[in-house]
């Protein structure tokens, strides 16, 4: 725990660099493309339409929701946070390797590079969120005060994401294959997470896999609270928080243990 506090202090001292790096990520990515920020919106929109067609119209996956919710919204509420998770990890795995010229030349807390990519992805996520909100207004999806739960749920998700990001950023620097392995893991992981299907479709004897998978708890909790369901399952949420904190602790200590040899290996 003291390691985390020390790192927070160091990052705070260098916060100016963090802001600049986030700005660089966000600005540079869209400066040259004509559609600019529309890409962040267009991407998930296209994904949602095709997936809705495949899974709802062809495969007829039920939503199992209490009220009558179109599958596309049911999917989208889960797909956006999942995309945030997977794209954060993919770009974090390249955060150090892509900044080789900085790492070998200037000293600053290396964790900042990883944190900056994770934050930059949140900015994209917020833009994409606009369509979800618009869509929900258009379809008049009923919401209630439980929607405020998304804030703590989101925090748990980011703790978990950050922990894994530290791990993949550091290990990809030592073995460049890690990023390919990661994209395989993410593809499989999505099917083991209730993104395209409702969580209660999972048979009881496999439930344990889903309880230990923080993403599945998180995604399910988003769906429940946003789409007018009840409050999330506290026990599951506590387990997810615990797993996320441990992941962050392990990820950060792995990162710190490798930090000294980053410049040697890049």
């Amino acid at each position: 725990m003291s390691e985390i506090l020390k790192e927070i202090k160091a990052v705070f001292k260098w916060r100016q660099l963090l802001f600049q790096l986030v700005g660089r990520e966000v600005k540079a990515r869209y400066k040259q493309s004509i559609l600019g920020y529309f890409w962040v919106i267009l991407n998930p929109l296209a994904q949602m339409m095709v997936m809705s067609f495949a899974f709802s119209i062809i495969l007829r996956i039920p939503t199992n929701a209490t009220s009558n919710i179109p599958y596309s919204i049911f999917l989208f509420v889960a797909l956006l946070p999942w995309n945030l998770f997977s794209s954060s990890l993919m770009s974090a795995s390249n955060a150090l390797v892509g900044s080789a010229s900085l790492i070998t030349k200037v000293y600053f807390p290396r964790t900042i590079l990883v944190i900056a990519t994770v934050i930059a992805k949140i900015v994209d996520f917020l833009f994409a969120l606009i369509i979800l909100v618009g869509y929900m207004v258009a379809f008049q999806i009923p919401i209630n005060a439980n929607i405020l739960w998304v804030i703590p749920i989101f925090l748990i998700q980011q703790i978990f994401t950050l922990g894994l990001s530290f791990f993949f950023a550091a290990s990809n620097l030592i073995y460049r294959d890690i990023q390919y392995l990661l994209s395989l893991i993410l593809t499989l992981w999505m099917y083991l997470t209730p993104v395209i299907y409702p969580a209660d479709l999972v048979p009881d004897r496999y439930k344990i896999i889903f309880q230990l998978n923080p993403l599945s708890v998180i995604i399910n909790a988003y769906r429940q609270t946003v789409l007018g369901g009840g409050i999330p399952n506290y026990t599951s949420l506590y387990i997810a928080l615990g797993v996320s904190l441990i992941t962050l602790l392990l990820g950060l200590s792995y990162f710190k243990s490798r930090e000294k040899i980053f410049a040697d290996n890049i």
Binding site: L17, Q20, G23, V106, F108, D264
Partner: protein
């Protein structure tokens, strides 16, 4: 006797380079019992110290360990054995503009690079005019720097780096860029630093530049200290002698 600003205490730096960068190479090597690591000694038992205000030229053939010394001082690498003590803010001029992003404008890059060197936004605001004046780039400051010529790029990078208010300035063979007028400007600026008591480490293959600019020279070969002299003449002669054995 002033306290040294940089101290190397029998510093050894080994690189344990993994010889296999990918699993495809690593896994077979592991099973075949091949070596998965290559050890390479870049510096061995190096001891020296530098006092505040000294201008030290570091000379030696390629691969002798000069850059490793600079990286240890900049804090981007840690020694395998021994201790490196550095007191003060280091501003590295190693390969200028390392943090520049081609898609961003000159202005944005000044802020980005300033932050990388540890400046607060306020400080950069205060220096901004001076930086752009120094680089003589007012006309292009809002253009993406991918449209800059390499000379313009270097000018901007140098301008940012010398406005950091460093206590230790690391200059690694960079003054070969820019036109003569700009080079002169850079040397003038470094002279100012010298007068203000900034410690400067200067790596160059030009012994003339070292003799003219530095107060001391350290000659490194194969990671060992061969000669160390104030003024630099003796060390430079040693180096010359080893280069042209007669």
């Amino acid at each position: 006797m002033t306290k040294p600003i940089i101290e190397f205490h029998s510093v050894t730096k080994n690189f344990t380079l993994t010889s296999q960068k990918t699993f495809k190479e690593f896994l077979p090597a592991l099973f075949m019992g091949e070596k998965t690591h290559d050890a390479f000694t870049a510096l061995s038992e190096l001891t020296f110290s530098i006092n505040p205000g000294e201008t030290v030229g570091i000379i030696g053939p390629n691969g002798s360990g000069k850059s490793t010394i600079l990286k240890l001082i900049a804090g981007v690498m840690s020694p395998t054995v021994g201790k490196v003590r550095v007191k003060g803010k280091v501003s590295p001029l190693i390969e200028l503009g390392a943090g520049f992003h081609p898609e961003l404008s000159g202005r944005e890059n000044v802020y980005l690079n300033g932050a990388i060197l540890g400046l607060s936004k306020k400080k950069i605001d205060g220096y901004f005019k001076q930086i752009v004046d120094f680089a003589e780039l007012w006309e292009f400051i809002d253009q993406p720097i991918k449209h800059y010529s390499s000379g313009m790029y270097m000018r901007l990078a140098f301008a940012v780096a010398v406005h950091v208010d460093p206590e230790i300035l690391i200059v690694d063979e960079i003054l070969a860029v820019g036109d003569t007028a700009f080079q002169e400007k850079c040397f003038k600026r470094m002279d100012e630093f010298k007068k203000n008591g900034v410690t400067i480490l200067f790596v160059s293959h030009s012994l003339d530049a070292i003799k003219a600019f530095c107060s001391r020279a350290i000659y490194i070969d194969h990671g060992r200290l061969v000669a160390d002299s104030t003024p630099p003449t003796t060390a430079c002669e040693h180096y010359l002698a080893s280069q042209n054995p007669s």
